[in-house]
Symmetry: C2
Subunit: 306 residues, 2 copies
């Protein structure tokens, strides 16, 4: 029996390692210079453009300078936040009419700030659905909702995503999560998403505590996705129950942490949400470095940046 | 007053950023190929050897193959853990007699395991003082000792290192910390260091909880230092007081977390211990991402790996 448990633990660890490798596959392929050009605004890199997107952009010299030394630049005549934002928006509207790019079918009317680093002033903002064309960094919030009972046992609330979501339909998700729209605060986004997705009253959502970030960069056939999630822990009263709000979620589950730990290594979980739970498991001592040889690799895999 | 507080906060943030840059300066210099050769054992990289050390090693062909394609290899005839360990030990004893390498003056009679990754089987073990010659990864444990009073206020125990320590004499340190010697467990090391350095009874030290790792790589005139610290939080009863044990510490301080936060950005702190406290401040929500533009850069800077 002991060896069966050890074998299962090894499978769990290997599945987690594969998850982290997949979510950080941009680093391992070593393909960045061959497959992507840097996207630059005012001389600063803010993203990665797939070569096929770059060749398409060269048909629009009003907006984009031709590829030069591995970079595509936004036309330097667009020299302010407002000018860049308006011009790129006009370009994207043109593209929606003229092309069949799948990512633009998911148009959200939600703007993301574009800047080299989070601490830099935004150089423009861009429709969320278009960020994958340019490989710009996307920021969001994820909330771990958990309770501790009188015996000290920890349980966690998980959401099952609606079957009609554009991305990852039907998969397990954190209690609440959402992208950081331009001009909206981090805690403000936490409270908003908790209310909208899980009907958590603002006064309770305000108790969510910032506990770090999870960051990763993956690439797929659409492009490069460098993402940074601000992670919050929200300790809920045992009697509280979230309920379905805006329809992004079909159901909430309340599960003992052992069960959550099991699920996190399966394909039933939205990958970045599984990473957020893995970070919770580590911070809350549910993974023991003496019994998990990959402990340090797990921590490292949760905090990659480009 | 508000602007004075903001200016002080900005200075604090900038000092933390500089600390993280200094502790990760191996990444930023881009000098790895010019200044270092890979150190390989049985075809696997386990470290970085400064070029001047590499030229010295080429005088000892019995132990080291001549530099080839950017790498120095341990002689392949040393084909087992025991043979490598014994041979390198013999080499280092020779070196202690024949050279004046400053790092070997700090000989500790403490062996560290040498392997490409923590999850790999050790290929050999090596005297701690010599690891900097070869730039092998060093692992350790750091323990944040803290209390929470009835009002929920958090205070932390800090140690002042003995003025006679070889490294960082007289600087502030975590409650306890120590390197992971070959064959000794992680929690075992925590309990040992807590007992030896701070006279914390084993039963209390056993309560320390694993909460992640802090990792970084710096270089200085001696070589490359890739380090990974397993971090533990130990919540102490308010009445408990650590006391000086084996003489590595001259004094313990019990400080409110605001004061600790202030100190962590000063040169009075041993740099890697300051990183461990910064990680504590982030995990325990004493840094607010809405008010700290460098939040994500701080998290990333605490988790660099090579």
């Amino acid at each position: 029996m002991a060896s069966k448990a050890a074998a299962m633990a090894a499978v769990w660890s290997e599945n987690i390692l594969q998850l982290l490798k997949r979510m950080n596959n941009f680093y391992s392929t070593g393909s960045s210079s061959a497959k992507y050009l840097r996207f630059e605004i005012a001389g600063e890199q803010v993203g990665w453009i797939p070569t096929k997107v770059a060749s398409m952009l060269s048909s629009y010299p009003e907006w984009f300078s031709p590829p030069h030394q591995g970079a595509v630049s936004l036309n330097p005549s667009l020299d302010s936040y407002e000018r860049r934002t308006e011009a790129v928006d006009a370009f994207l509207q043109t593209l929606r009419r003229e092309s069949s790019l799948s990512c633009l079918r998911g148009w959200r009317d939600e703007k993301y700030s574009v800047m080299p680093k989070f601490s830099d002033a935004p150089l423009m903002c861009m429709e969320r659905a278009a960020t994958s064309l340019f490989g710009v960094k996307r920021y969001g919030v994820h909330i771990n909702g958990y309770t501790v009972n009188e015996s000290g046992e920890v349980s966690m609330w998980l959401a099952r995503r609606s079957p009609t979501k554009q991305t990852y339909p039907g998969l397990l998700d954190n209690l609440a999560a959402g992208g950081l729209a331009a001009g909206v605060g981090i805690k403000e986004t936490v409270v908003k998403e908790c209310q909208e997705e899980a009907c958590i009253p603002a006064a309770l959502a305000e108790m969510a505590r910032p506990v770090g970030t999870v960051s990763y960069t993956y690439e797929d056939e659409e492009g490069v996705f460098p993402e940074i999630q601000f992670v919050f822990d929200l300790k809920l009263p045992p009697q509280f129950k979230p309920s379905v709000g805006d329809g992004e979620v079909q159901e909430f589950y309340f599960l003992p942490l052992d069960k959550v730990k099991e699920l996190v290594a399966t394909d039933d979980f939205k990958p970045n949400c599984a990473m957020v739970v893995l970070d919770f498991l580590i911070r809350h001592s549910f993974i023991d470095p003496d019994n998990e040889p990959l402990y340090q690799e797990f921590v490292a895999g949760l905090h990659q940046t480009v």
